[in-house]
C-alpha cells in the first residue's frame, strides 16, 4: 500500500482535542467535536466529516476504500463504536460499541443500537430512519416522530461540548492554521 500522506483540514469552528489519532487525508467541518482518544484513519482514501458531528472517546472511524468517505452533518458516534461505512448521511446515531462494516452505507436518521454488529457480506444501504437494535441486531423503520426535538438536542449537546471541552483539553488545529 502506498504510504499515507497526512493532511488534516480542520475548520476553525471545530473542536478537535489534541489527544486524538488522525492518519491520512482528513477534513473536519465546522462545529464538529472530536473527543480525546478518538481515532480517525483514512487508510486508503480521504475522510470528510461534515458539520455538527460528535465523535466520542475511543470511537474509531476508518476508510478502507479509495473513494472519499463522506460523513454528513449532525451525526453522533458514541463511545467505542467502530465505523467503516463508505458514506454516512445526516443525523445518524452510532451507539456505544456498535460496529458497522465497510459494506454498509448509512443514509439519514438511522440508529445503530449499542453493541450491534452490522457486518453484511454484500454491499447494502440503510434507508432513512432505519433502526438496528438489540442483541440480534433486529431492524425497524422509525416513524421519524420526535426527530426535530432530537436534532435540537444534538445541536445543544454539541454546543455544550464545544464550550466545555476546550477548558480541559488542548485543541488541535488544522495544517493551515
Amino acid at each position: 500500500m502506498a504510504p499515507i500522506r497526512d493532511k488534516f483540514t480542520i475548520h476553525s469552528k471545530a473542536v478537535v482535542c489534541q489527544d486524538v489519532e488522525l492518519k491520512g487525508d482528513i477534513t473536519i467541518g465546522p462545529n464538529t467535536v472530536v473527543h480525546p482518544k478518538a481515532t480517525i484513519f483514512a487508510i486508503a482514501g480521504p475522510i470528510v466529516i461534515g458539520a455538527g458531528c460528535i465523535i466520542e472517546e475511543a470511537a474509531i472511524i476508518v476508510n478502507r476504500r479509495k473513494e472519499v468517505m463522506r460523513i454528513g452533518d449532525s451525526n453522533l458516534f458514541e463511545i467505542g463504536c467502530r465505523v467503516e461505512s463508505p458514506s454516512i448521511g445526516n443525523f445518524n446515531t452510532i451507539s456505544t460499541r456498535a460496529r458497522v462494516h465497510h459494506t454498509v452505507r448509512i443514509s439519514n436518521y438511522c440508529v445503530i443500537g449499542a453493541a450491534c454488529l452490522v457486518v453484511p457480506t454484500e454491499d447494502e444501504s440503510l434507508e432513512d430512519y432505519t433502526t438496528i437494535y438489540g442483541p440480534a441486531a433486529d431492524r425497524r423503520v422509525w416513524s421519524g416522530r420526535g426527530r426535530v426535538q432530537e436534532a435540537d438536542l444534538r445541536h445543544k449537546h454539541a454546543e455544550y461540548l464545544r464550550e466545555m471541552l476546550p477548558k480541559f483539553n488542548r485543541l488541535r488545529r488544522g495544517d493551515g492554521a
Binding site: T131, Y133, R140, R145, G146, V148, Q149
Partner: protein, 561 residues
C-alpha cells in the same frame, strides 16, 4: 461446563432418611443447589433451600420508579405500575413521554430556533432504543400526565377483562356463602403438605381468598364438603358469557382463521410478534407485531423467607424499595465452608501432553478437557472457611449403589464400577476467616508449616511422592489464609460411561458458642478434648460432578487422529 459442586437440602427426602438420592438419577438435581442459593436456620441447625422455605410478600414496588405500592391498590391496578412507567412492546425498554415535534421547517436543521420546553400535544410514548412510538398503534395523549390510568382504561375494556369481571360478579354470591364454611376445611390443606407451616397455610388461605373468580378446588375436602356444595351449586343460575367464544378472534385477540389468514400472507418473520413480546400481556393479544401495545410495567415484590419447621425468619429485606440490604440474612454461605472443585490442567500426566491438544478444540478451555474411560485423574477441592474460628473438616464419598437398571445392554462391569474416588481419609484444618487487614504480613497469609498443623501423613495422602515417583495427588495440597486445598483422585473404569458424579459427605467440627445438650443429634461432638471448649460437628452432603466420561472406543479413535 467445568467441574461443579452443589449442596444438598434434605427437604425432599422422606423424614427419617437424610441421605441424598444417588447422583446419577436425573431427579436428584432437585435436591442439590448452589451454595449461594441456600439458607441456614440456626434454630434447627439445618440447611434450607428455596424449595422448602415459606415465602411472605413484604411489599410491592415498581422496578422502574421504585414507588412502593400499598397492597390495597395492587389488585385494583392489576399488578402493574399506575404511574408513568411503561415498557416498549418491541424491546422492553422503558418508554418516555414525548411531545409532538413542532412543524418541520424542511430538513429539520433549522435548530437555531429554540424549542419550547413545554412541548406540544399530542403526547406519545417513545422508545429511545428501538424508536417505536405509541402513535404507530394510534395511542396519543392530550396531556403528559395520568397516562397509566388512560392505558388501564383501555386494558380493562378488553373483551377478556370484561368477561372476567362478569364471571367474578356471577360467582360473588356463591363465594360469600362458601367463605363462611371455608375456614373449616383449610387446615386439611396444610396437613397434607408435610413441610407446610401454619404460616404457609395462612398464606395459602389468603391466596384462595384473594381470587374471588376462581372456585376453591380442593380435592381432599371435596368429598367431605360435597354435600353442602351441591346444594349451593343447585342454587346458582347458569352463567351466560358476554361474548360467544368463537367471536373472540374478531375482537382482535387472535386465534382461528384470522391468524391463519395473517400467517399465510406474512413476508418477514418480524411481522409476527415474538413470544417474549406477548408473554407479559395480561390477556391474549393478536399475533401481529404491528398490534403490540405499550405495557404498564409489572410490579415486583420483596419477600421474606421463613424456616418451614421453626418459622424463624431466614431472610428479610429492608422495606424500602431503594434499599438492597437485608434486615435479616441467614445464608448458608456464612455457615458452611464454600467449596470449589477443579481438574488441574493435565500436563503432569505421563502421556497427557501428547494427547491433550488433539482433544481440546481450538477454543481451548483448559478446564474442559475430557475424562477418558480407563484413566485416572487428580482433582482439587478448595474449601473456604466463612467462620471466625478454625474448622476441622472430614470428607467421605457416599457409597453408591450404582446405575443398575438404567441401561441393561451395558456390560456387567460398567454397571458395577464406573469409577472409584479417593479423598483424604484424615480430617484436615481450614483456618479461620479474617479480614484482610488482620494479617500482619504475607507469612501469616501463606506459609503455614505442616508441622504446625499437626498433620499426620496418612495412607495415600503421604508426604511427597508415592512409589512411582509421582507428586502426591491425594491429601492436603495447599493452605493459605482461610482456604485449604485438598487433592483427590478418580480412577475411571475401562467400560465407564456417563458422568463422574458422586455424593460427598462433609463434616466439620467447630467451636460452639452456645453448647447444646448432646442428645441433640446434630450437636454431637466428634472429638472430645479435655482442653478444648465445647465443639460441635455439622454434617452435610454435596454432589460433585467432574464432567462426562469419554467412552473407550471413541477415545481410541481420537487418539489415532
Amino acid at each position: 461446563m467445568g467441574p461443579s459442586i452443589q449442596y444438598y437440602c434434605p427437604c425432599l427426602s422422606g423424614f427419617p432418611v437424610q441421605t441424598p438420592p444417588p447422583p446419577h438419577v436425573a431427579s436428584s438435581s432437585a435436591s442439590f443447589h448452589p451454595l449461594h442459593s441456600l439458607f441456614f436456620c440456626e434454630e434447627c441447625d439445618a440447611v434450607r433451600c428455596n424449595r422448602c422455605v415459606s415465602i411472605e410478600v413484604s411489599g410491592y414496588y415498581c422496578p422502574n420508579c421504585l414507588f412502593e405500592v400499598p397492597s390495597a391498590s395492587v389488585r385494583a391496578e392489576k399488578n402493574r405500575c399506575a404511574r408513568n412507567c411503561f415498557s416498549c412492546p418491541i424491546c422492553r425498554t422503558t418508554l418516555s413521554v414525548v411531545a409532538s415535534d413542532p412543524p418541520d421547517e424542511g430538513d429539520g436543521r433549522s435548530s437555531s430556533v429554540p424549542l419550547s420546553t413545554v412541548g406540544e400535544p399530542p403526547f406519545f410514548l417513545y422508545c429511545n432504543h428501538c424508536r417505536w412510538d405509541s402513535a404507530e398503534v394510534g395511542i396519543t395523549f392530550e396531556k403528559p400526565t395520568g397516562l397509566a390510568a388512560q392505558l388501564q382504561k383501555f386494558e380493562d375494556s378488553a373483551a377478556e377483562s370484561l368477561e372476567f369481571e362478569r364471571l367474578k360478579e356471577h360467582f360473588e354470591p356463591f363465594l360469600r356463602t362458601s367463605s363462611l364454611s371455608s375456614s373449616s376445611h383449610l387446615p386439611s390443606v396444610a396437613s397434607h403438605h408435610m413441610h407446610t407451616s401454619s404460616i404457609t397455610a395462612a398464606a395459602s388461605a389468603a391466596l384462595a381468598r384473594d381470587i374471588p373468580g376462581v372456585g376453591k378446588y380442593n380435592p381432599h375436602t371435596r368429598s367431605r364438603a360435597g354435600r353442602d356444595r351441591t346444594v349451593n351449586r343447585d342454587e346458582m343460575p347458569e352463567y351466560k358469557s358476554r361474548v360467544e367464544v368463537g367471536l373472540f378472534s374478531q375482537l382482535g385477540s387472535g386465534g382461528d382463521e384470522g391468524d391463519v389468514e395473517f400467517l399465510t400472507h406474512i413476508e418477514t418473520a418480524g411481522e409476527v410478534a415474538k413470544l417474549e413480546q406477548r408473554w407479559g400481556n395480561s390477556w391474549t393479544t393478536s399475533l401481529k407485531t404491528s398490534d403490540l401495545r405499550p405495557l404498564r410495567i409489572p410490579l415486583h415484590s420483596k419477600v421474606s423467607k421463613r424456616c418451614p419447621t421453626c418459622r424463624h425468619i431466614l431472610i428479610k429485606p429492608e422495606q424500602k424499595a431503594q434499599s438492597v440490604r437485608y434486615k435479616i440474612k441467614l445464608v448458608a454461605a456464612n455457615y458452611l465452608p464454600a467449596m470449589t472443585v477443579a481438574l488441574p490442567s493435565p500436563q503432569s500426566g505421563p502421556d497427557a501432553s501428547r494427547r491433550v491438544p488433539a482433544k481440546v478444540p481450538a477454543a481451548g478451555d483448559e478446564k474442559n478437557f475430557t475424562l477418558m474411560a480407563g484413566k485416572s485423574y487428580p482433582f482439587h477441592l478448595a474449601l473456604t472457611n466463612p467462620l471466625y474460628d478454625p474448622i476441622q473438616v472430614r470428607l467421605s464419598v457416599q457409597r453408591m449403589h450404582v446405575t443398575a437398571s438404567t441401561d441393561s445392554t451395558a456390560p456387567e462391569k460398567a454397571r458395577r464400577t464406573p469409577f472409584a474416588v479417593s479423598l483424604p481419609t484424615s480430617s484436615f484444618p481450614v483456618a479461620a476467616f479474617a479480614e484482610a487487614w488482620e494479617y500482619d504480613d504475607d507469612e501469616d497469609m501463606f506459609g503455614v508449616e505442616d508441622d504446625e498443623l499437626g498433620l499426620e501423613p496418612i495412607g495415600r495422602g503421604s508426604k511427597d511422592r508415592d512409589g512411582r515417583g509421582k507428586v502426591k495427588t491425594v491429601g492436603v495440597l495447599e493452605r493459605r489464609a482461610n482456604v485449604t486445598v485438598v487433592g483427590g483422585e478418580v480412577v475411571i473404569g475401562k467400560e465407564a460411561r456417563g458422568h463422574v458424579k458422586f455424593n460427598m459427605l462433609v463434616s466439620y467440627t467447630y467451636r460452639s458458642d452456645d453448647p447444646l445438650p448432646s442428645e441433640d443429634g446434630a450437636g454431637t461432638p466428634s472429638r472430645v478434648n479435655a482442653k478444648a471448649p465445647e465443639v460441635k460437628t455439622f454434617t452435610f452432603y454435596t454432589v460433585i460432578d467432574l464432567g462426562p466420561i469419554t467412552p473407550r472406543e471413541e477415545s481410541k479413535v481420537e487418539a489415532d487422529v
